[in-house]
Protein backbone atom coordinates (compact mmCIF):
# COMPACT_ATOMS: atom_id res chain seq x y z
CA UNK A 1 0.00 0.00 0.00
CA UNK A 2 2.71 2.37 1.07
CA UNK A 3 4.75 1.61 -2.01
CA UNK A 4 1.80 2.21 -4.25
CA UNK A 5 1.27 5.67 -2.79
CA UNK A 6 4.95 6.46 -3.28
CA UNK A 7 4.85 5.34 -6.87
CA UNK A 8 1.87 7.49 -7.56
CA UNK A 9 3.31 10.50 -5.82
CA UNK A 10 3.63 13.29 -8.31
CA UNK A 11 5.51 16.12 -6.63
CA UNK A 12 4.34 19.66 -7.09
CA UNK A 13 7.19 22.11 -7.11
CA UNK A 14 6.97 25.84 -7.51
CA UNK A 15 9.95 27.66 -8.93
CA UNK A 16 10.48 31.39 -8.56
CA UNK A 17 12.83 32.18 -11.42
CA UNK A 18 14.64 35.42 -12.05
CA UNK A 19 13.60 36.95 -15.35
CA UNK A 20 17.15 37.84 -16.40
CA UNK A 21 18.96 34.57 -15.92
CA UNK A 22 17.22 31.43 -14.72
CA UNK A 23 14.07 32.12 -16.68
CA UNK A 24 16.18 32.53 -19.81
CA UNK A 25 18.06 29.36 -18.87
CA UNK A 26 14.74 27.54 -18.68
CA UNK A 27 13.94 28.87 -22.11
CA UNK A 28 17.29 27.72 -23.43
CA UNK A 29 16.88 24.28 -21.89
CA UNK A 30 13.47 24.00 -23.51
CA UNK A 31 14.54 25.11 -26.96
CA UNK A 32 17.55 22.79 -26.73
CA UNK A 33 15.04 19.98 -26.26
CA UNK A 34 16.49 18.93 -22.93
CA UNK A 35 14.54 16.61 -20.73
CA UNK A 36 13.12 18.61 -17.84
CA UNK A 37 10.90 17.34 -15.04
CA UNK A 38 7.33 18.57 -15.50
CA UNK A 39 6.90 18.80 -11.71
CA UNK A 40 8.11 22.38 -11.64
CA UNK A 41 5.60 25.18 -12.16
CA UNK A 42 7.42 28.35 -13.01
CA UNK A 43 6.65 31.75 -11.55
CA UNK A 44 8.65 34.46 -13.28
CA UNK A 45 9.89 37.22 -11.00
CA UNK A 46 11.90 40.25 -11.97
CA UNK A 47 14.61 39.47 -9.42
CA UNK A 48 15.26 36.72 -6.89
CA UNK A 49 15.10 39.40 -4.20
CA UNK A 50 11.46 39.97 -5.19
CA UNK A 51 10.62 36.66 -3.52
CA UNK A 52 9.12 37.83 -0.25
CA UNK A 53 8.85 35.45 2.69
CA UNK A 54 5.08 35.54 2.45
CA UNK A 55 5.24 34.41 -1.15
CA UNK A 56 7.18 31.32 -0.15
CA UNK A 57 5.10 30.60 2.94
CA UNK A 58 1.84 30.98 1.02
CA UNK A 59 3.12 28.52 -1.55
CA UNK A 60 4.28 26.10 1.11
CA UNK A 61 1.15 26.24 3.28
CA UNK A 62 -1.11 25.82 0.29
CA UNK A 63 0.50 22.51 -0.50
CA UNK A 64 3.62 22.83 -2.66
CA UNK A 65 5.92 19.88 -2.04
CA UNK A 66 9.01 21.84 -2.91
CA UNK A 67 10.02 25.42 -3.61
CA UNK A 68 12.93 26.51 -5.75
CA UNK A 69 14.22 30.06 -5.82
CA UNK A 70 16.71 30.71 -8.59
CA UNK A 71 18.61 33.83 -9.55
CA UNK A 72 21.77 35.10 -11.14
CA UNK A 73 25.16 34.10 -9.79
CA UNK A 74 26.47 36.48 -7.13
CA UNK A 75 28.07 39.42 -8.89
CA UNK A 76 25.93 38.97 -12.01
CA UNK A 77 22.67 40.50 -10.81
CA UNK A 78 20.90 42.53 -13.47
CA UNK A 79 20.19 45.14 -10.81
CA UNK A 80 23.63 45.00 -9.26
CA UNK A 81 23.12 43.35 -5.91
CA UNK A 82 19.59 41.95 -5.72
CA UNK A 83 20.71 38.37 -5.38
CA UNK A 84 22.85 39.20 -2.35
CA UNK A 85 19.73 40.44 -0.61
CA UNK A 86 17.87 37.36 -1.83
CA UNK A 87 20.56 35.21 -0.27
CA UNK A 88 20.06 36.86 3.12
CA UNK A 89 16.30 36.52 2.91
CA UNK A 90 16.66 32.89 2.02
CA UNK A 91 19.00 32.34 4.97
CA UNK A 92 16.42 33.87 7.31
CA UNK A 93 13.58 31.87 5.84
CA UNK A 94 15.56 28.68 6.06
CA UNK A 95 16.51 29.41 9.66
CA UNK A 96 12.91 30.09 10.66
CA UNK A 97 11.43 27.05 8.92
CA UNK A 98 14.22 24.88 10.28
CA UNK A 99 13.69 26.13 13.85
CA UNK A 100 9.98 25.48 13.53
CA UNK A 101 10.66 21.95 12.28
CA UNK A 102 8.88 22.61 8.98
CA UNK A 103 10.99 20.38 6.70
CA UNK A 104 13.14 23.24 5.49
CA UNK A 105 14.87 20.90 3.01
CA UNK A 106 11.86 21.43 0.74
CA UNK A 107 13.14 24.92 0.17
CA UNK A 108 16.06 25.47 -2.15
CA UNK A 109 17.98 28.45 -3.47
CA UNK A 110 20.24 28.17 -6.48
CA UNK A 111 22.09 30.31 -8.99
CA UNK A 112 21.68 29.58 -12.71
CA UNK A 113 22.84 31.98 -15.41
CA UNK A 114 21.09 32.53 -18.75
CA UNK A 115 23.56 30.36 -20.64
CA UNK A 116 23.33 27.40 -18.27
CA UNK A 117 20.45 25.58 -19.91
CA UNK A 118 21.92 22.19 -19.06
CA UNK A 119 22.50 23.22 -15.45
CA UNK A 120 18.87 24.31 -15.27
CA UNK A 121 17.71 20.89 -16.41
CA UNK A 122 20.09 19.21 -13.97
CA UNK A 123 18.97 21.31 -10.99
CA UNK A 124 15.27 20.88 -11.71
CA UNK A 125 15.58 17.14 -12.27
CA UNK A 126 17.68 16.50 -9.18
CA UNK A 127 15.47 18.71 -7.01
CA UNK A 128 12.39 16.85 -8.26
CA UNK A 129 14.09 13.58 -7.41
CA UNK A 130 14.94 14.84 -3.93
CA UNK A 131 11.36 15.95 -3.30
CA UNK A 132 10.00 12.68 -4.68
CA UNK A 133 12.18 10.86 -2.16
CA UNK A 134 10.96 13.10 0.66
CA UNK A 135 7.38 12.27 -0.25
CA UNK A 136 4.34 14.53 -0.13
CA UNK A 137 4.55 17.63 2.04
CA UNK A 138 3.00 16.95 5.47
CA UNK A 139 0.97 20.12 4.97
CA UNK A 140 -1.13 18.28 2.43
CA UNK A 141 -2.80 16.04 4.96
CA UNK A 142 -3.50 18.74 7.55
CA UNK A 143 -6.90 20.31 7.67
CA UNK A 144 -6.27 22.21 10.92
CA UNK A 145 -3.58 24.67 9.94
Amino acid sequence: MDKKVKKEFDPKIVGFLCNWCTYAAADLAGSSKMEISPALSVVRVMCSSRVDHNLVLTTFFNGADGILIAGCHPGDCHYGEGNYYARRRYALLKKVTESLGLESERLQLTWISASEGNRYAEVVNSFTEKIAKLGPSPINCRSDL
Binding site: D52, H53, N54, L57, T58, F61, N62, G63, H73, P74, G75, E81, Y84, Y85, R87, R88, R89, Y90, A91, L92, L93, K94, K95, V96, T97, S99, L100, G101, L102, Q108, L109, T110, W111, P138, I139, N140, C141, R142, S143, D144, L145
Partner: protein, 387 residues
Amino acid sequence: MNDTERSAARMRSPEGIRGSLHDFLKIAVDKGAVDSVLAPVKVPAENSYAWILMNDPAVIESASPVAPVMPVQGAKALKSLTRKGKGESRILAVMRPCEIRAGIELMKLNQVHFDNIVLVSYDCPGAVPFQDYVKDPGFSEESFGKMIASGRPGEENIKPACGICTEFSIVDSDIHFGYFGVDEGSAFVIPVSEQGAELLDAIGLDRDAKIADWESEISSIRDKRTKKRTETLSAAGERIKGLDGLINAFRKCIGCHNCMSVCPICYCRQCYFDSEVSKKDPDFIFEIAEKRGAMAFPRDKVMFHAGRMTHMSLSCVSCGFCTDACPTGIPVAEIFSYMADITQPTFEYIAGKNNGEPLPLRKFEKKELPLVHEIVKSAEGEEGSDE
Protein backbone atom coordinates in the same frame (compact mmCIF):
# COMPACT_ATOMS: atom_id res chain seq x y z
CA MET B 1 29.31 57.06 24.46
CA ASN B 2 32.24 56.96 26.82
CA ASP B 3 32.93 53.38 27.79
CA THR B 4 36.05 53.88 29.84
CA GLU B 5 34.49 55.38 32.93
CA ARG B 6 30.94 56.43 33.48
CA SER B 7 30.29 59.35 35.75
CA ALA B 8 26.85 59.83 37.13
CA ALA B 9 24.82 62.29 39.12
CA ARG B 10 22.86 61.21 42.15
CA MET B 11 19.26 62.15 42.89
CA ARG B 12 17.37 61.46 46.06
CA SER B 13 13.68 61.45 46.80
CA PRO B 14 11.55 60.07 49.60
CA GLU B 15 9.44 58.47 46.89
CA GLY B 16 12.40 56.63 45.42
CA ILE B 17 12.94 56.29 41.71
CA ARG B 18 9.44 57.53 40.91
CA GLY B 19 10.06 60.71 42.85
CA SER B 20 13.51 61.27 41.37
CA LEU B 21 12.29 60.80 37.80
CA HIS B 22 9.34 63.05 38.44
CA ASP B 23 11.58 65.76 39.86
CA PHE B 24 13.88 65.38 36.89
CA LEU B 25 11.02 65.95 34.42
CA LYS B 26 9.95 69.08 36.23
CA ILE B 27 13.48 70.49 36.40
CA ALA B 28 14.15 69.75 32.72
CA VAL B 29 11.03 71.63 31.63
CA ASP B 30 11.51 74.38 34.22
CA LYS B 31 15.04 75.12 33.08
CA GLY B 32 13.98 75.08 29.46
CA ALA B 33 16.23 72.15 28.57
CA VAL B 34 13.26 70.53 26.81
CA ASP B 35 9.93 71.90 25.61
CA SER B 36 7.70 69.04 26.57
CA VAL B 37 7.59 65.64 28.16
CA LEU B 38 6.19 62.36 26.91
CA ALA B 39 5.36 60.05 29.79
CA PRO B 40 2.55 57.84 31.09
CA VAL B 41 -0.23 59.49 33.08
CA LYS B 42 -2.91 57.65 35.01
CA VAL B 43 -6.27 57.98 33.31
CA PRO B 44 -9.05 59.69 35.31
CA ALA B 45 -10.92 56.41 35.79
CA GLU B 46 -7.78 55.16 37.55
CA ASN B 47 -7.77 51.84 35.74
CA SER B 48 -5.09 52.40 33.15
CA TYR B 49 -2.31 54.69 31.97
CA ALA B 50 -1.97 56.69 28.77
CA TRP B 51 0.95 58.31 27.01
CA ILE B 52 0.59 62.05 27.33
CA LEU B 53 2.63 64.74 25.63
CA MET B 54 2.67 67.62 28.09
CA ASN B 55 4.32 70.93 28.78
CA ASP B 56 1.94 72.35 31.36
CA PRO B 57 3.59 72.08 34.81
CA ALA B 58 0.25 71.13 36.35
CA VAL B 59 -0.11 68.18 33.99
CA ILE B 60 3.51 67.16 34.47
CA GLU B 61 2.74 67.08 38.18
CA SER B 62 0.28 64.27 37.48
CA ALA B 63 2.68 62.19 35.37
CA SER B 64 3.67 58.70 36.50
CA PRO B 65 6.96 58.12 34.71
CA VAL B 66 7.25 54.61 36.15
CA ALA B 67 3.83 53.09 35.50
CA PRO B 68 2.92 49.57 36.64
CA VAL B 69 1.40 48.65 33.27
CA MET B 70 2.25 49.09 29.62
CA PRO B 71 -1.03 49.60 27.77
CA VAL B 72 0.60 50.97 24.60
CA GLN B 73 4.18 50.44 23.46
CA GLY B 74 6.00 53.74 24.02
CA ALA B 75 7.73 53.40 20.64
CA LYS B 76 4.31 53.67 19.03
CA ALA B 77 3.63 56.94 20.81
CA LEU B 78 7.03 58.18 19.67
CA LYS B 79 6.23 57.09 16.13
CA SER B 80 3.03 59.13 16.09
CA LEU B 81 5.08 62.20 16.92
CA THR B 82 8.08 61.76 14.69
CA ARG B 83 7.19 59.50 11.79
CA LYS B 84 7.43 62.37 9.32
CA GLY B 85 10.76 63.63 10.60
CA LYS B 86 11.83 65.71 13.53
CA GLY B 87 9.31 68.00 15.11
CA GLU B 88 9.66 71.60 16.15
CA SER B 89 9.72 71.01 19.86
CA ARG B 90 12.29 69.16 21.90
CA ILE B 91 10.74 66.25 23.73
CA LEU B 92 11.91 64.35 26.76
CA ALA B 93 10.50 60.82 26.60
CA VAL B 94 10.56 58.55 29.63
CA MET B 95 10.23 54.98 28.52
CA ARG B 96 11.04 51.45 29.57
CA PRO B 97 14.18 49.90 28.08
CA CYS B 98 12.19 47.64 25.73
CA GLU B 99 10.22 50.63 24.48
CA ILE B 100 13.40 52.51 23.71
CA ARG B 101 14.85 49.49 21.93
CA ALA B 102 11.70 49.16 19.86
CA GLY B 103 11.99 52.88 19.09
CA ILE B 104 15.54 52.32 17.85
CA GLU B 105 14.36 49.51 15.57
CA LEU B 106 11.62 51.81 14.25
CA MET B 107 14.24 54.46 13.63
CA LYS B 108 16.10 51.97 11.42
CA LEU B 109 12.80 51.42 9.62
CA ASN B 110 12.48 55.17 9.15
CA GLN B 111 9.36 55.37 11.28
CA VAL B 112 10.85 57.27 14.21
CA HIS B 113 13.25 60.20 14.13
CA PHE B 114 15.33 60.90 17.19
CA ASP B 115 16.74 64.30 16.26
CA ASN B 116 14.69 66.29 18.75
CA ILE B 117 14.06 63.55 21.29
CA VAL B 118 15.84 62.96 24.57
CA LEU B 119 15.28 59.39 25.70
CA VAL B 120 15.26 58.61 29.38
CA SER B 121 15.33 54.99 30.51
CA TYR B 122 15.35 53.45 33.98
CA ASP B 123 16.05 50.14 35.67
CA CYS B 124 12.83 48.35 34.85
CA PRO B 125 11.38 46.00 37.43
CA GLY B 126 8.93 44.58 34.85
CA ALA B 127 5.32 45.40 34.16
CA VAL B 128 2.08 43.96 35.51
CA PRO B 129 0.11 41.97 32.87
CA PHE B 130 -2.48 44.34 31.51
CA GLN B 131 -5.46 42.07 32.14
CA ASP B 132 -4.41 41.59 35.77
CA TYR B 133 -4.17 45.33 36.23
CA VAL B 134 -7.57 46.00 34.70
CA LYS B 135 -9.16 43.37 36.95
CA ASP B 136 -7.65 44.70 40.15
CA PRO B 137 -5.81 48.01 39.84
CA GLY B 138 -5.50 48.39 43.62
CA PHE B 139 -3.68 45.11 44.14
CA SER B 140 -1.46 45.67 41.11
CA GLU B 141 -0.48 49.17 42.22
CA GLU B 142 0.43 47.83 45.64
CA SER B 143 2.49 44.90 44.39
CA PHE B 144 4.24 47.08 41.82
CA GLY B 145 4.98 49.70 44.50
CA LYS B 146 6.65 47.03 46.61
CA MET B 147 8.60 45.82 43.62
CA ILE B 148 10.03 49.27 43.01
CA ALA B 149 10.77 49.88 46.67
CA SER B 150 12.75 46.63 46.85
CA GLY B 151 15.25 48.04 44.35
CA ARG B 152 15.33 44.73 42.52
CA PRO B 153 13.56 43.41 39.44
CA GLY B 154 10.19 41.83 40.12
CA GLU B 155 9.70 38.08 40.33
CA GLU B 156 5.94 37.75 40.72
CA ASN B 157 2.95 39.51 39.19
CA ILE B 158 4.88 40.60 36.13
CA LYS B 159 4.47 39.78 32.47
CA PRO B 160 6.13 36.51 31.46
CA ALA B 161 8.26 38.46 28.97
CA CYS B 162 9.52 40.67 31.81
CA GLY B 163 10.50 37.64 33.88
CA ILE B 164 12.99 36.55 31.21
CA CYS B 165 14.10 40.02 30.14
CA THR B 166 17.85 40.56 30.02
CA GLU B 167 17.73 44.16 28.80
CA PHE B 168 16.02 45.59 31.87
CA SER B 169 18.64 48.23 32.56
CA ILE B 170 20.83 50.63 30.60
CA VAL B 171 20.16 50.67 26.85
CA ASP B 172 21.07 53.07 24.05
CA SER B 173 19.00 55.91 25.50
CA ASP B 174 20.32 59.38 26.30
CA ILE B 175 20.00 59.33 30.06
CA HIS B 176 19.56 56.32 32.31
CA PHE B 177 18.23 56.20 35.87
CA GLY B 178 19.88 53.34 37.72
CA TYR B 179 18.59 52.36 41.14
CA PHE B 180 18.80 48.56 41.43
CA GLY B 181 20.84 47.74 44.50
CA VAL B 182 21.41 51.43 45.30
CA ASP B 183 20.53 52.60 48.82
CA GLU B 184 16.90 53.42 49.30
CA GLY B 185 15.52 56.66 47.92
CA SER B 186 18.57 57.22 45.79
CA ALA B 187 19.11 56.88 42.06
CA PHE B 188 22.05 57.39 39.69
CA VAL B 189 21.45 59.65 36.75
CA ILE B 190 23.78 58.30 34.09
CA PRO B 191 24.43 60.14 30.84
CA VAL B 192 24.50 57.55 28.04
CA SER B 193 24.90 59.75 24.98
CA GLU B 194 26.55 63.09 24.39
CA GLN B 195 23.13 64.67 24.13
CA GLY B 196 22.27 63.24 27.53
CA ALA B 197 25.46 64.60 29.08
CA GLU B 198 24.76 68.04 27.65
CA LEU B 199 21.27 68.00 29.09
CA LEU B 200 22.54 67.05 32.53
CA ASP B 201 25.03 69.92 32.32
CA ALA B 202 22.32 72.31 31.17
CA ILE B 203 20.15 71.59 34.17
CA GLY B 204 23.13 71.69 36.50
CA LEU B 205 23.39 68.14 37.80
CA ASP B 206 26.88 67.47 39.09
CA ARG B 207 28.34 64.18 38.03
CA ASP B 208 30.42 62.98 40.92
CA ALA B 209 28.90 59.64 41.88
CA LYS B 210 30.65 56.31 41.42
CA ILE B 211 28.52 53.62 39.92
CA ALA B 212 30.77 50.55 39.88
CA ASP B 213 28.65 48.79 42.54
CA TRP B 214 25.47 49.42 40.59
CA GLU B 215 27.11 48.11 37.43
CA SER B 216 28.17 44.88 39.06
CA GLU B 217 24.70 44.46 40.61
CA ILE B 218 23.13 44.83 37.16
CA SER B 219 25.47 42.34 35.55
CA SER B 220 24.84 39.77 38.28
CA ILE B 221 21.06 40.12 37.82
CA ARG B 222 21.57 39.90 34.06
CA ASP B 223 23.50 36.65 34.38
CA LYS B 224 20.67 35.06 36.34
CA ARG B 225 18.11 36.34 33.88
CA THR B 226 20.08 35.10 30.88
CA LYS B 227 20.07 31.61 32.35
CA LYS B 228 16.35 31.76 33.00
CA ARG B 229 15.69 33.11 29.52
CA THR B 230 17.68 30.37 27.81
CA GLU B 231 15.89 27.68 29.80
CA THR B 232 12.41 29.09 29.23
CA LEU B 233 12.88 29.74 25.55
CA SER B 234 14.49 26.44 24.69
CA ALA B 235 11.60 24.68 26.45
CA ALA B 236 9.19 26.79 24.37
CA GLY B 237 11.11 25.84 21.24
CA GLU B 238 10.81 22.16 22.04
CA ARG B 239 7.08 22.54 22.58
CA ILE B 240 6.35 24.18 19.25
CA LYS B 241 8.70 22.19 17.06
CA GLY B 242 7.23 20.34 14.13
CA LEU B 243 3.90 20.72 12.43
CA ASP B 244 2.03 19.11 15.33
CA GLY B 245 3.73 21.34 17.89
CA LEU B 246 2.98 24.44 15.88
CA ILE B 247 -0.64 23.55 15.26
CA ASN B 248 -1.06 22.83 18.95
CA ALA B 249 0.59 26.08 19.97
CA PHE B 250 -1.70 28.15 17.79
CA ARG B 251 -4.83 26.03 18.01
CA LYS B 252 -6.53 28.64 20.16
CA CYS B 253 -5.69 31.45 17.73
CA ILE B 254 -8.85 33.24 16.63
CA GLY B 255 -7.09 35.20 13.89
CA CYS B 256 -7.78 38.59 15.48
CA HIS B 257 -4.25 39.79 14.61
CA ASN B 258 -4.05 41.64 17.93
CA CYS B 259 -0.48 40.45 18.39
CA MET B 260 0.37 42.15 15.14
CA SER B 261 -1.43 45.41 15.79
CA VAL B 262 0.17 45.94 19.19
CA CYS B 263 3.61 44.94 17.93
CA PRO B 264 5.80 48.04 17.70
CA ILE B 265 7.84 46.50 14.88
CA CYS B 266 4.88 45.66 12.62
CA TYR B 267 4.46 49.14 11.26
CA CYS B 268 3.27 48.41 7.69
CA ARG B 269 0.20 50.39 6.74
CA GLN B 270 -1.32 47.29 5.30
CA CYS B 271 -0.17 43.85 6.22
CA TYR B 272 -0.21 41.08 3.66
CA PHE B 273 -2.27 39.01 6.10
CA ASP B 274 -4.99 41.66 6.21
CA SER B 275 -5.01 42.17 2.47
CA GLU B 276 -7.41 40.82 -0.12
CA VAL B 277 -4.59 38.93 -1.86
CA SER B 278 -4.14 36.72 1.17
CA LYS B 279 -7.80 35.72 1.14
CA LYS B 280 -8.10 32.74 -1.13
CA ASP B 281 -10.92 32.10 -3.51
CA PRO B 282 -13.71 29.91 -2.04
CA ASP B 283 -13.34 27.49 -4.97
CA PHE B 284 -9.71 27.06 -4.08
CA ILE B 285 -10.56 26.45 -0.43
CA PHE B 286 -13.17 23.85 -1.44
CA GLU B 287 -10.59 22.14 -3.58
CA ILE B 288 -8.09 21.95 -0.73
CA ALA B 289 -10.78 20.88 1.74
CA GLU B 290 -11.74 18.05 -0.57
CA LYS B 291 -8.15 16.95 -0.93
CA ARG B 292 -7.44 17.08 2.78
CA GLY B 293 -10.79 15.74 3.90
CA ALA B 294 -11.72 18.73 6.09
CA MET B 295 -10.85 22.36 6.68
CA ALA B 296 -10.57 24.36 9.89
CA PHE B 297 -11.37 28.06 10.05
CA PRO B 298 -9.93 30.60 10.39
CA ARG B 299 -7.39 29.32 7.89
CA ASP B 300 -3.68 29.96 7.83
CA LYS B 301 -3.18 30.42 11.55
CA VAL B 302 0.26 28.83 11.50
CA MET B 303 1.18 30.62 8.31
CA PHE B 304 0.29 33.98 9.81
CA HIS B 305 2.57 33.44 12.78
CA ALA B 306 5.36 31.90 10.70
CA GLY B 307 5.08 34.86 8.32
CA ARG B 308 5.33 37.32 11.16
CA MET B 309 8.35 35.48 12.51
CA THR B 310 10.20 35.91 9.24
CA HIS B 311 9.17 39.54 9.01
CA MET B 312 9.88 40.84 12.49
CA SER B 313 11.90 38.36 14.54
CA LEU B 314 15.13 40.13 13.55
CA SER B 315 13.82 43.30 15.19
CA CYS B 316 11.94 41.66 18.08
CA VAL B 317 12.86 43.27 21.41
CA SER B 318 10.80 40.80 23.49
CA CYS B 319 8.57 43.51 24.96
CA GLY B 320 5.76 41.01 25.50
CA PHE B 321 2.92 43.15 24.17
CA CYS B 322 1.73 40.33 21.92
CA THR B 323 1.14 38.00 24.85
CA ASP B 324 -0.60 40.80 26.73
CA ALA B 325 -2.93 41.41 23.80
CA CYS B 326 -3.81 37.79 23.00
CA PRO B 327 -7.43 37.21 24.00
CA THR B 328 -6.98 33.44 24.14
CA GLY B 329 -3.82 33.38 26.21
CA ILE B 330 -1.32 32.02 23.69
CA PRO B 331 2.23 32.72 24.92
CA VAL B 332 3.00 34.56 21.69
CA ALA B 333 5.93 36.55 23.08
CA GLU B 334 7.67 33.42 24.29
CA ILE B 335 7.42 31.83 20.86
CA PHE B 336 8.58 34.96 19.06
CA SER B 337 11.41 35.52 21.53
CA TYR B 338 12.51 31.95 20.92
CA MET B 339 12.70 32.72 17.22
CA ALA B 340 14.37 36.11 17.79
CA ASP B 341 17.10 34.49 19.86
CA ILE B 342 17.82 32.21 16.90
CA THR B 343 17.56 34.57 13.96
CA GLN B 344 19.35 37.59 15.45
CA PRO B 345 22.58 35.72 16.30
CA THR B 346 22.56 34.18 12.80
CA PHE B 347 23.05 37.66 11.40
CA GLU B 348 25.25 38.74 14.33
CA TYR B 349 22.62 41.32 15.12
CA ILE B 350 21.14 42.56 18.37
CA ALA B 351 17.79 44.33 18.06
CA GLY B 352 17.52 47.67 19.81
CA LYS B 353 21.16 48.72 19.54
CA ASN B 354 21.81 52.16 18.13
CA ASN B 355 25.27 51.71 16.67
CA GLY B 356 24.76 52.84 13.10
CA GLU B 357 24.18 49.28 11.89
CA PRO B 358 21.29 48.92 9.45
CA LEU B 359 18.78 46.07 9.68
CA PRO B 360 20.29 42.72 8.63
CA LEU B 361 18.04 42.37 5.58
CA ARG B 362 18.97 45.81 4.34
CA LYS B 363 22.61 44.99 3.95
CA PHE B 364 24.74 42.05 2.86
CA GLU B 365 28.29 40.80 2.75
CA LYS B 366 29.76 39.47 -0.47
CA LYS B 367 31.43 36.84 1.65
CA GLU B 368 28.59 36.13 4.04
CA LEU B 369 28.77 35.89 7.83
CA PRO B 370 29.78 32.39 8.99
CA LEU B 371 26.30 31.34 10.17
CA VAL B 372 24.62 32.73 7.05
CA HIS B 373 27.22 31.08 4.86
CA GLU B 374 26.55 27.79 6.63
CA ILE B 375 22.92 27.98 5.46
CA VAL B 376 23.48 29.19 1.92
CA LYS B 377 26.56 27.19 0.98
CA SER B 378 24.54 24.27 -0.33
CA ALA B 379 22.70 26.75 -2.55
CA GLU B 380 25.92 28.13 -3.95
CA GLY B 381 26.99 24.73 -5.24
CA GLU B 382 30.30 22.97 -4.76
CA GLU B 383 32.18 25.58 -6.73
CA GLY B 384 31.29 28.16 -4.05
CA SER B 385 30.35 30.92 -6.43
CA ASP B 386 30.66 33.79 -3.99
CA GLU B 387 33.89 35.67 -3.93
